[in-house]
């Protein structure tokens, strides 16, 4: 396949060259880059207009199934028979060191009570915790060798979402929309569906646009009566009356805007778009119109799958309408209500898997039968995995040096395993993949080159992947 030209970046480069010649001493390279950024801001180029990708794109959209709190790789996708044999012993020194948040040195290894079985044609082993997901394993590429730098929630969540261990940087979703624009006029381009049970340690900043302009910020579909802020008319204002008000605003603003005034006209158009969102979005958000069979597929209408099923189905409806990035969070509020199984790995993971297994499998199945899986990259994982040692007698602590994430669809070859941890699941030893590699791969599947997707901030050309990051070629 031929590489498509990247129209806007080409424009920048040409413009830069041109200005370099024509306006020598005007500020050079960085300045013209800045001017381009300002043009974006000014709305002379609609910042959300779809942009051609750098590379041939496989995925148009991403659904990130965020398993908050850190699901155990040992209980899910990474069978460790040796760990079971070493149950109750201290970690042999040959496995190396690890730092945990709570476990004291000298803790004992703990085997898993889950049983693993080969599934699908690929014969990949998945535990009995996730029987429905296991049925989809031939569409899934399991990355058993993920690692990150931090072992506490907030900092690890920032790194998972933004590539940095501190708040203030732009998230994957914000970068995606910055790079590719939006395919949907009446819906926000980047949506987060948080868990109604509560928020996470990383809070608002982890999903945010960081230093990118506010136009790339996420839209939170919050639980409650007003899922999307300001989408509803205030009480006692009929729609017909508001239509007149919006028309008045338009007409008054038009009297003062020259036809070639990009910024003011962009602002006038924003009102049309806002009104469109207000009238069209609620229908997309309402999953009630879906056929009963589809709703059942996701586990809607029964416990414990109803909530996550609804949000997974909503995610499908959103990407169907061209939304670029959807994050569906499983887990929220205190650690117990996340995958944060400090006290009892069995109780916690059976419960969390119970909420999510069928909805996740339903989503993959539904996307596939609608032909959407090819163009939708589904990513599953948390901010870290869990310790091979037990915390107390039944729990597992955070663990960032080796854990599992998976990807499906969007050009990823299913039914394969990438990388491995050592025999007890402590370190990623074969083909280790940092979050940066996950980010580089997500960008790559969406047709973005991590090195070209940059934003000048405080003198640095910032990128999602910071200074390095390799596309995980084994997935493709």
């Amino acid at each position: 396949m031929k590489h498509l030209p990247r129209a806007d970046f080409r424009l920048t480069r040409n413009r830069r060259e041109f200005l370099g010649d024509a306006f020598c001493g005007f500020g050079g390279l960085a300045f013209t880059h800045l001017m381009w950024q300002q043009e974006l801001r000014a709305g002379t180029i609609n910042p959300l207009a779809p942009k051609p990708p750098h590379l041939p794109a496989k995925a148009k959209s991403v659904i990130f199934l965020f398993m908050a709190g850190g699901p155990s790789h040992i209980e899910t996708f990474d069978p460790k028979p040796v760990l079971n044999k070493l149950h109750g012993q201290k970690r042999p020194p040959s496995f190396g060191e690890a730092k945990y948040q709570f476990i004291s040195p000298g803790a004992r290894l703990m085997g898993t009570k889950r049983t693993f079985k080969k599934h699908g044609e690929s014969g990949i082993e998945v535990s009995d915790l996730l029987p429905r997901t296991a049925e989809c394993i031939d569409d899934i590429a399991v990355i058993r060798s993920c690692f990150g730098d931090m072992v506490v929630h907030s900092a690890a969540q920032y790194q998972l979402m933004t590539g940095r261990v501190v708040p203030g940087f732009a998230s994957m979703g914000a970068w995606s929309v910055y790079g590719l624009g939006s395919e949907s006029e009446s819906l926000p381009a980047y949506v987060v569906l948080p868990d109604p049970k509560g928020a996470l340690e990383g809070g608002q900043p982890m999903y945010g646009n960081g230093f990118l302009p506010a136009v790339y910020q996420p839209t939170m579909f919050r639980p409650g009566k007003k899922p999307v802020l300001n989408l509803q008319l205030p009480a006692a204002v009929p729609l017909a009356q508001r239509r007149r008000t919006v028309d008045l605003i338009r007409n008054l603003n038009l009297t003062g805007a020259a036809p070639d005034d990009g910024e003011l006209n962009a602002r006038i158009n924003a009102y049309d778009l806002a009104f469109k969102m207000q009238t069209e979005a609620p229908a997309v958000l309402d999953v009630a119109n879906e056929p009963e069979e589809t709703r059942e597929l996701y586990g809607i209408g029964k416990q414990p799958t109803d909530d996550y099923g609804r949000r997974c189905l909503l995610a499908r409806r959103l990407v169907e309408k061209g939304v670029r990035f959807v994050c569906v969070v499983a887990g929220g509020g205190p650690g117990k209500l996340q995958w944060d199984a400090h006290e009892d790995i069995e109780e916690n993971h059976l419960r969390m898997a119970g909420h999510t297994d069928q909805p996740v499998a339903g989503l993959l199945t539904d996307l596939k039968r609608r032909g959407l899986l090819d163009q939708t990259l589904v990513v599953w994982g948390g901010e870290f995995g869990r310790s091979p040692e037990s915390q107390g007698s039944k729990g597992r602590d955070h663990h960032n040096l080796g854990f599992t994430m998976w990807m499906a669809g969007g050009g990823v070859k299913g039914g394969r395993v990438v990388g491995a941890t050592d025999d007890i699941g402590l370190h990623a030893t074969i083909d280790p993949h940092h979050f940066r590699d996950i980010h580089a791969t997500i960008l790559n599947q969406m047709g973005m080159d991590q090195n070209q997707l940059t934003y000048l901030h405080l003198g640095r050309k910032e990128r999602l992947t910071e200074v390095e990051g390799d596309v995980i070629e084994e997935l493709l």
Binding site: V152, Y271, K394, P432
Partner: protein
């Protein structure tokens, strides 16, 4: 196949690295090439000759040297400046630029009618003297230093006394505190005035950064390194305008800042520790103890239990502990400050790739090497007031960066773009000055006038350059300028700007007649949607301020909570308070329209504005529309606008018209 994980490699390989040996050696003092030293920003500015004009048009335009530099640049490009803005427009512009609030219709009318030759000068003076001036300019400074009243990260704990720093900033701008003092007090107030509350509060600057705390095993060295990193980086961003943070992991890729320079700067902070300086009476203490006693007892008990607890019980106990701490009564008055604790000083080392556990050579205090002779020595380790020494270097009249950086910030706020368009980055990767002579002249003037910011405001606002109209004239000169310099780099007209998030909210409250004028004090929590509160990790953290009058105060007094930014602020590009923000974006998108159409603030205030219009303009729709326009846009409606609005009011409500005025370009922008 990669051999080992990166993180595991650090742990496993540490003993094998030459780093352990390197750590005992003093890192090289560094040499810099003449090219590096000759980069414009590192060369001390000299006051350039002011261009002179003999033609009538030139002489008429040049009110002060600013105009001379701007006109010279324009004429070199074959351009001429725009005409003067009309008086009503100018009045509204000066109000927003100096106090961040709209003028009342009477204030506009009085200025328009004042034909005295010094009418404009008097207006500028009056606004510079207004207490609201500090509220407008303080906000910009708070952006730059990423001020917030919470820690950020997981707990996002309140910094109960951080508001005192915000009030200090507002006061400093109002009092025209000389910038060299302003800088020194923030860097080293605790050293300069250990018994002076104002100084101690100012030094709180050093601990404004987000702060990561975690339960469980503490990594003391990592946490300390995070704190030091923030203390160091902000000096570069806020005062020096160089991105020294880039040199934390390796020599700066673009600027002559070596990694050793970075850590030598960090060495000034090696003994700087957070400190809350208590400021309460024994009676206050006793009253507090009555309320807090039982809870602190419980906290102690839980801490003891935590020490003995098995690993699986620890998270629960940690949570109980956090909840208990939440129940404590509001802390006693204290000053959010720092202290120099030389006994607890840890040596600073260069860190390989910035990794806290990968130390290389030792370093001591020294300013940036490129501004010193080659191999300049470090300061003595015995320096008892290291940060004062750093401040002295930064505020030295010969420092090439400090004055330029600050006058450029002021310029940017008044003219829409800095002379250097990247105000936090004067380095190679930043923009080159559009008017280098002007920048140097202003920098020397700033130093010469005792670092007075108000003197700079005066100079800039009284220039013809500032007073130009933003709308291009129709003449051939203007047409030529539009095509030659569409981005107005050469300042052939004024730049239109959108109101900032704070200005917009304050202006809505102001025109609706509900803005509270109270200044200072603890941050205010306004009522917000339940859905937003529930989206906090700890919803109990949002305690709406009980006195409702407080809810209508200026935005600078709303609580600056890192993990909950008000959607109104967020959508209109207010920064996230995590990293320094030198200039705000001006994005335009649909959620802004939704906020101003459907948001609570716009709708409740529209109701109040409608009441005001009816009360002050009576029942006549023409008078209602005219007053609405004069309040929100500072001018009367045009014939067409009047006709459209009056037509609307035949069937539409006054409330909806009031809402519409908040959505007018003429309201949201300053011409």
């Amino acid at each position: 196949m990669k051999a080992l994980t990166y993180a595991a490699g650090i742990v496993a390989g540490l003993a094998l690295l030459p780093a352990a040996r390197a750590a005992d050696q003093v890192a090289p003092l560094g040499e810099y090439t003449p090219e590096q030293r000759g980069f414009w920003a590192f060369v001390k500015p000299v006051s350039p000759p002011v261009p002179e004009f003999s033609d009538a048009a030139g002489r008429a335009f040049v009110k002060n040297p600013i105009d001379a530099f701007v006109l010279a640049r324009l004429r070199a490009a074959g351009l001429e400046p725009n005409g003067r803005a009309d008086r009503a427009t100018l009045c509204r512009r000066v109000y927003f630029d100096l106090v961040g609030l709209p003028p009342t219709p009477n204030e506009v009318a009085a200025f328009v009618a004042d034909r005295a030759s010094d009418a404009y000068e008097k207006l500028v003076e009056r606004l510079l003297a207004s207490p609201h001036h500090g509220e407008r300019w303080g906000q910009h400074w708070l952006d730059v230093v990423r001020f917030a009243e919470t820690d950020g990260f997981e707990y996002d704990t309140y910094r109960a006394n951080a508001w005192r720093y915000r009030d200090y900033v507002v006061r400093a701008f109002n009092a025209d505190k000389p910038y060299d003092r302003f800088l020194s007090e923030q860097i080293a107030g605790d050293e300069l005035g250990p018994d002076n509350d104002e100084m101690l509060v100012a030094a709180g600057f050093n601990r404004l950064a987000p702060l990561r705390r975690n339960a469980g095993n503490q990594e003391v060295a990592r946490s300390r390194n995070e704190v030091l990193t923030e203390m160091t980086n902000v000096v570069g961003a806020a005062f020096l305008g160089v991105t020294i943070g880039c040199a934390r992991c390796h020599d700066h890729r673009f600027d002559p800042i070596k990694q050793t320079d970075y850590y030598r700067l960090q060495a000034y902070f090696s003994a700087t520790l957070s400190k809350d300086v208590v400021r309460y009476t024994p009676e206050q203490r006793a009253a507090w103890q009555v309320k807090a006693g039982p809870i602190t007892k419980e906290i102690k008990r839980t801490r003891a239990a935590l020490d003995k607890a098995s690993d699986d019980k620890k998270p629960e106990l940690e949570r109980i502990l956090v909840d208990l701490e939440d129940q404590l009564p509001p802390p006693l008055p204290a000053l959010f400050s720092v202290v120099e604790d030389l006994e607890r000083r840890l040596p600073i080392r260069v860190l390989k790739r910035g990794e806290f556990d990968w130390p290389l050579g030792r370093v001591g205090m020294r300013p940036l090497g490129v501004l010193l002779p080659d191999r300049a020595p470090e300061l003595s380790e015995d320096e008892k007031q290291p940060r004062s020494a750093l401040a002295r270097w930064m505020t030295d009249a010969d420092n090439p960066l400090t004055a330029r950086v600050m006058v450029n910030r002021v310029w940017m706020q008044h003219f829409g773009r800095g002379i250097v368009a990247t105000p936090n980055d004067f380095g190679k990767n930043g923009a080159r000055p559009s008017h280098p002579d002007l920048l140097d002249w202003l920098a020397r003037e700033f130093v010469g006038r005792g670092f007075s910011l108000k003197a700079m405001h005066r100079l800039m606002l009284l220039s013809s350059t500032y007073q130009q109209a933003s709308v291009p004239g129709a003449g051939p000169a203007q047409l030529a300028a539009t095509s030659m310099d569409p981005d107005n780099i050469l300042l052939w007209r004024a730049n239109r700007r959108r109101l900032s998030a704070e200005e917009l909210r304050d202006a809505i409250l102001s025109v609706a007649g509900s803005l509270a004028s109270k200044m200072g004090g603890p941050g205010v929590m306004v009522p917000i949607e339940k859905e937003l509160v529930n989206a906090l990790y700890k919803p109990s953290q949002w305690e709406v301020t009980s006195d409702r009058a407080e809810h209508a105060r200026r935005s600078i007094y709303l609580i600056a909570k890192r993990n909950l930014r008000l959607p109104f602020m967020q959508v209109f590009d207010a920064p996230d308070m995590q990293v320094s923000c030198a200039s705000r974006d001006q994005s335009t998108h649909a959620p802004q329209a939704l906020e101003l159409l459907n948001g609570d603030l716009a709708n409740t205030q529209a109701e109040l504005l409608a009441v005001r219009l009816r009360k002050q303009a009576g029942a006549d729709p023409r008078r209602q529309v005219t007053l609405g326009y004069r309040l929100t846009t500072g001018r009367s409606p045009t014939v067409k606008e009047l006709a459209l609005a009056v037509e609307f009011l035949r069937a539409g409500s006054l409330r909806e018209f009031a809402l519409a005025t908040f959505n007018l370009n003429a309201f949201v922008y300053v011409n």
